[in-house]
Structures are given as structure tokens and as C-alpha cells.
């Protein structure tokens, strides 16, 4: 079976110390229902742990969640740690309590998409699909 036919693999992760995991768990399960293979890290993981898991599990996309206001520090940190491990081609999406003005900053710092409270699950799932597809296409060019 070629890699294109296998289900997309996603890592859902909670960087930092925030314990609000209702959204992360919902997205993990909603993606699973859509046929994704989902790994959920559990709460309170460091950026380095998340990046290492993403590489080890060979995921197509990483989804981060933080509701504690630490996103500006922690999300780009995960992007950096991924790059340091040769995973700069793995797209990173983020969600949580994130003010509009921070979204631009995060996109500039390498995040591929940011979702805030009230975003319909369908929109989030389709972003995960697009990002995964993009990663697979990129991979096949290697």
C-alpha cells in the first residue's frame, strides 16, 4: 500500500501548563470519526516533547491547543523544535483563546492556521485535511 492510501496521521497536543482540554479532545475525536489516525499527547507537554512525538509518530500535521494566553510563546516554539528535528515540512495548526491581533503574528511565525472559539468543527476538519494533503504532496516530491 502506498503512503497516499493510508489514513492521515495527526498529533493533537497541549503545550505548556494549560489544563483546558475539552476542545482538544473534541477535535481529536471528531478527526477520528472522519477517518484520521489521531494521537493525543495529554496535557502539559513541552514543545520539545511534542516535536519529538510528531517526528517519531510520522504525523502529517500537528494541532496545538492553549487557552491560557501562552500561545505567542509556545506555538512558535513547537514550530522551532520541529524544524530542529528535520520536521519543518510538518504543518502546525493552533486553537484556543487567541485574540485576533495574535493570529497574524502566529501565521508569520510559521503556524498554518489558527481557530478560535465558535469555529465550526467542519471548518477545522477541512483545514486538517488540506494541511495533511499538502504534507503528503510535499513528501512525495522528496
Amino acid at each position: 500500500m502506498t503512503k497516499e492510501q493510508t489514513p492521515f496521521r495527526v498529533l493533537i497536543a497541549k503545550p505548556g501548563l494549560d489544563g483546558h482540554d475539552r476542545g482538544a479532545k473534541f477535535i481529536a475525536r471528531a478527526l477520528r470519526d472522519q477517518g484520521f489516525e489521531v494521537i493525543y499527547t495529554g496535557i502539559r507537554r513541552t514543545a520539545a516533547e511534542i516535536a519529538a512525538t510528531a517526528i517519531q509518530e510520522d504525523v502529517d500535521v500537528v494541532g496545538l491547543s492553549s487557552l491560557s494566553g501562552a500561545h505567542l510563546r509556545l506555538f512558535p516554539e513547537v514550530v522551532r523544535e520541529l524544524a530542529a528535528r528535520g520536521g519543518s515540512d510538518i504543518p502546525v495548526l493552533g486553537g484556543g483563546v487567541i485574540p485576533d491581533e495574535d493570529i497574524t503574528t502566529l501565521l508569520e511565525k510559521g503556524l498554518s492556521g489558527i481557530f478560535t472559539s465558535g469555529t465550526p468543527a467542519d471548518a477545522i476538519i477541512s483545514s486538517f485535511k488540506k494541511a495533511s494533503q499538502h504534507h503528503r504532496n510535499h513528501d512525495s516530491l522528496k
Binding site: I43, G69, V97, S117, G118
Partner: protein, 547 residues
């Protein structure tokens, strides 16, 4: 009705005593035009069914409230949870809130503090001063309560795994103000069990954590008798997505566990039970929430009386704080949140809460601005002073629907508690994930209904508009982290380090021996040993929990 013996006994005893201690707010309560508002509306005939299931307020099983006159005597405590950035910034916010008429403080700590890391720990990266105030040493705590007389106000502190350390700091700050511990009023959350299933700020595994909680019960009974030693919290369980009945069941099951642990350690039930407090969520389904509060109060009274054989009424009374549901707030059309909060706050008041926090309109976007916090507090003040709902006790009693729903929530919660006990109790159910799975399933089902449009959230999945104007949000000073780290390093440099190390060594010995840790921790914080240093010692002995 006046011939009912139980009613006249209640008037002679509970009511008379209460009126003597707390005179009512007004000589006479009446509607515009003069029609008198009854203190307590009653059915035409008081039968056994009424006596068993409802009773009179301030009387077992407390369905109608824990005080005979409820808010005719005194309004609930308006207590706004606040804290951010540095101790100096938070102190300024507290003094603002006190000036605006808030009647109790409620301290929000940042996540490193709640998880026992100093601000300069690598684990604290990005989180210092974000969701609350950063406290590393006694010096921060002294600044936090500067010019706030601790004998005059009551303070609630949302701190769990390292509660014993922050409580010790509070005691020492008071002592430096010349206030002894026996004068201190307030509440420490100290409810670690819900951290494993809902809130996430655990440090140690459940069993040693229960030991620290018992240490606090024991020390406070002897030294700090006016302080609530725990706030057994359903709030976060509900926020994580549970149903109302699950909120009651899991919270009371945790309560049973704390009581049993303290009894097993040799504590006397009627010594510590009156200092157990509770904390619930007020969500938007007004009638369900009113019934939930009444059901929780009755079920706890029955458990304490029948199961644990409590003798003193105070041991059977469930007193609780309420916060409106943060997860119900929308990031879209945020002024709608003021309306949601009003409905939720009304539910809490109809349900007989002892204190209340109302959320601010902008909290789905960031911590609230001062203006939004003021509106949230005004919401409570309008309910108290203008709505009239505080003028008669338990106004929903006797509604067919409310009583039916109160019964059914109590029954559902009782069933779930039995199920937990059959599975070996709360700690086993946390360890095997049973409770977490129940909450997760309920949360998933709820969100699915929203996604499918079966459940309407105004402004989110229906009645949306394009919003042009962006609200002003509270922005945190980005220099907080470095300033806090510098301050901590200065304290470490200036303190008598030999003494600090000696205190840590004494603490280590005490923790290994299993003796009460409150005094050694008080001695350590007095010597400016940091929270992180204390927790590092305890982590090595107790181990760490990971989900």
C-alpha cells in the same frame, strides 16, 4: 399552617436565633404599593412529604437553603475571581474591586504557581502571570495583600496541589499584619481530586495529595477555625463538559472521599465537616440549575447524616460558591454574554448560593478589562437590589417542575455515586479513567448537537452577523516574566540561605516521616524558601502524576 408543630418549632428555634444574630435587611419587605412579601411561602398543608423532602430553610435536609432567612438577612458574598501579572498589579485590581463594593477577594494564581514551579523554571515558559498572579515567595504574597486588612475581608484562594504552601504564606502575611490565624476568614480550594479529571493542575499522585489535604484539615481545626479548608468543586467538572447530574455526583463522590480520608486519619467528623465548602457551576439552563443546587444540598445533608452519622447541623449543611459558566461564553457578539451571565447568576441566587462570581463579557477572548469586570459585578448588584428575587426564601419551591427535577437530579447523582463505589471509589475510578470517560462522552455529545444545529448558540451557530468593531482587550505587559524572575532571584540572593536550606531539610524529614507538614512549611516560607523549592522536595518524596 400555624398549627403545624414543626413549623412553630422552626419559628421558635432556628428562625428566632437567626433573626437575633442577623437582623433582616429591612424592617418590612413589600411590593411597590405596599403588599407584603412573605419571608417564606408555604403550601396550604404541611405534610410528611413536604417535611421530608423540603423542610424549612436552615433545617435538615436544607433543600430550601442553609439559613432561615437567606438573603433577607444578608446578600450572598459578591466575590470576583481576579489576579494577573505581578502581585503589585493584582493588588491594584483587588483594591479597585473593594472600592467598587465587592465583598470578598478571590485570588487567581498563574499556572506555574498552581503546579508548583518557580517563575524561572523551564516548565513555566510563557505561562508566568498569564491566567493569574505569579507567586514565588512570601515577598510576592506580602505585596499581593499590601494595605488590605486580612482581619476585615475574607479571601478565597484557587490553589489545589500546593495549597498547603500558599495557605502557609497567607498565615505568615497575616501574622506580619498583626492578625492571628484564628481571625482569618476565607476559603482555600484544596480540592485535588477534580484536578485529575477536569482541571489539570495536579502535581503528586492522588494518595499523597489526600495526605496533604488532611494535614490542612487538622491544622486549621486547631489554629484557623473560621477558614474553609476545602472547596469541593463541581465547577471545573461541568466546564469540562459533564451534565448537571454528573457535576453533582462527581463532586459529592469527591466530598465523600475527603471525609473518609480524614476519618481514617483519626479526625473527628463534627470537627472538620462544618469547614467543608463546595463550588458549583451556573450554566444557562435556568430551571435545571436551580433544581441542581437544591438537589446537591439535600443529597449532601442526607449523606452526612445517614452515612457518616454527623450530629451537628453545621456538618450537614452544604454551603457553596458559584461561578457562571465560562465555557458558555461566546467570542462572537460578546455583549450577548452579559445576558447569559445574568440568567446564570439568577440561577445561582434562586439556588441559594453563599457567594457568587459573575464572568465578564470578554472572557472568551482574554482576561477581562476593568470595565467588563465592573459590568459583571453590577449584574449581581442589580439582581440583589432591583430584581426582588432576594426578598423571599427559595421562591421556586413547590413548582411541580422544579421539585420533580430536583428529585430526578438527586436520584441520578445517587445512582452514579453508587456506581463509583462499586468500582472501588473515586481514586480507582480516576486511575482507570472511568470518570474522565463519562465527562468526555457528555462533552462530545453536547458539542455534536451544536455542530448539527440541534442546539442553538445565539450568535455562534445561528443569528450570526459580520462584526466590524473589535473590542478593547486586556493586554498583559510582556515584561512580567522577566521582572518576576529578577524579583525571585533578588529574594534568593538577599535571604539567609543557610536558614532556607535548613528549613528545606527539616521539611524533607517531616515529609518522609508522614507527619503533618503545615508547621514545617510555615517555617520554610517565613525564611523565604520558594514555592518551587518546597514542591521539588515533595515531588522527590511523593512522586509525580502524569496523565
Amino acid at each position: 399552617m400555624s398549627k403545624d408543630k414543626k413549623f412553630s418549632d422552626w419559628q421558635k428555634n432556628e428562625l428566632a436565633a437567626s433573626l437575633k444574630r442577623f437582623p433582616e435587611r429591612k424592617e418590612e419587605f413589600s411590593l411597590h404599593g405596599g403588599v407584603e412579601i412573605p419571608r417564606l411561602a408555604l403550601p396550604e398543608t404541611i405534610d410528611d412529604n413536604y417535611r421530608d423532602r423540603l423542610g424549612f430553610p436552615g433545617q435538615y435536609p436544607y433543600t430550601r437553603g442553609v439559613q432561615p432567612t437567606m438573603y433577607r438577612g444578608r446578600f450572598w458574598t459578591m466575590r470576583q475571581y481576579a489576579g494577573f501579572s505581578s502581585a503589585a498589579e493584582s493588588n491594584k485590581r483587588y483594591r479597585y474591586l473593594l472600592d467598587q463594593g465587592t465583598t470578598g477577594l478571590s485570588v487567581a494564581f498563574d499556572l506555574p504557581t498552581q503546579i508548583g514551579y518557580d517563575s524561572d523554571d523551564s516548565m513555566s515558559l510563557g505561562e508566568v502571570g498569564k491566567v493569574g498572579v505569579a507567586i514565588d515567595t512570601l515577598a510576592d504574597m506580602e505585596m499581593l495583600f499590601k494595605d488590605i486588612p486580612l482581619d476585615k475581608i475574607s479571601t478565597s484562594m484557587t490553589i489545589n496541589s500546593p495549597a498547603i504552601v500558599l495557605l502557609a504564606m497567607y498565615v505568615v502575611v497575616a501574622e506580619k499584619q498583626g492578625v492571628t490565624a484564628d481571625k482569618l476568614r476565607g476559603t482555600i480550594q484544596n480540592d485535588v481530586l477534580k484536578e485529575y479529571v477536569a482541571r489539570g493542575t495536579y502535581i503528586f499522585p492522588p494518595r499523597p495529595s489526600l495526605g496533604l489535604i488532611t494535614d490542612i484539615f487538622q491544622w486549621c481545626f486547631a489554629n484557623m477555625p473560621l477558614f474553609n479548608t476545602i472547596s469541593i468543586s463541581g465547577y471545573h467538572i461541568r466546564e469540562a463538559g459533564s451534565t448537571a447530574a454528573q457535576e453533582v455526583a462527581f463532586t459529592l463522590a469527591n466530598g465523600i472521599t475527603y471525609v473518609q480520608t480524614a476519618l481514617d486519619a483519626g479526625l473527628e467528623l463534627d470537627h472538620f465537616a462544618k469547614r467543608l465548602a463546595f463550588f458549583f457551576n451556573a450554566s444557562s439552563n435556568l430551571l435545571e440549575e436551580v433544581a441542581k443546587f437544591r438537589a446537591a444540598r439535600r443529597l449532601w445533608a442526607r449523606l452526612m447524616k445517614n452515612r457518616f452519622q454527623a450530629r451537628k447541623p453545621a456538618s450537614m449543611m452544604m454551603r457553596f460558591h458559584t461561578q457562571t459558566a465560562g465555557s458558555s461564553l461566546a467570542a462572537q457578539q460578546i455583549d450577548n454574554n452579559i445576558v447569559r451571565v445574568t440568567i446564570q447568576a439568577l440561577a445561582a441566587v434562586f439556588g441559594g448560593t453563599q457567594s457568587l462570581h459573575t464572568n465578564s463579557r470578554d472572557e472568551a477572548l482574554s482576561l477581562p478589562t476593568e470595565d467588563s469586570v465592573r459590568t459583571a459585578l453590577r449584574t449581581q448588584q442589580i439582581i440583589a437590589h432591583e430584581s426582588g428575587v432576594a426578598d423571599t426564601v427559595d421562591p421556586f419551591a413547590g413548582s411541580y417542575y422544579i421539585e420533580q427535577l430536583t428529585d430526578s437530579i438527586e436520584l441520578a447523582a445517587e445512582d452514579l455515586i453508587s456506581k463509583i463505589e462499586q468500582k472501588g471509589g473515586v481514586v480507582s475510578c480516576i486511575e482507570d479513567g472511568f470518570i474522565q470517560r463519562q465527562i468526555e462522552q457528555a462533552a462530545y455529545d453536547y458539542q455534536k448537537e451544536i455542530e448539527a444545529g440541534q442546539r442553538v448558540i445565539v450568535g455562534v451557530n445561528k443569528f450570526q452577523i459580520k462584526e466590524e468593531d473589535k473590542p478593547e482587550l486586556l493586554r498583559m505587559n510582556p515584561a512580567v516574566e522577566s521582572a518576576q524572575i529578577a524579583a525571585l532571584q533578588k529574594v534568593r540572593y538577599e535571604r539567609n540561605d543557610d536558614e532556607a536550606q535548613a528549613r528545606l531539610a527539616t521539611l524533607k524529614v517531616a515529609a518522609e516521616s508522614g507527619s503533618n507538614l503545615m508547621e514545617p512549611i510555615i517555617a520554610a516560607v517565613r525564611a523565604y524558601v520558594s514555592l518551587g523549592e518546597i514542591c521539588t522536595v515533595l515531588r522527590k518524596i511523593f512522586g509525580e502524576y502524569r496523565d
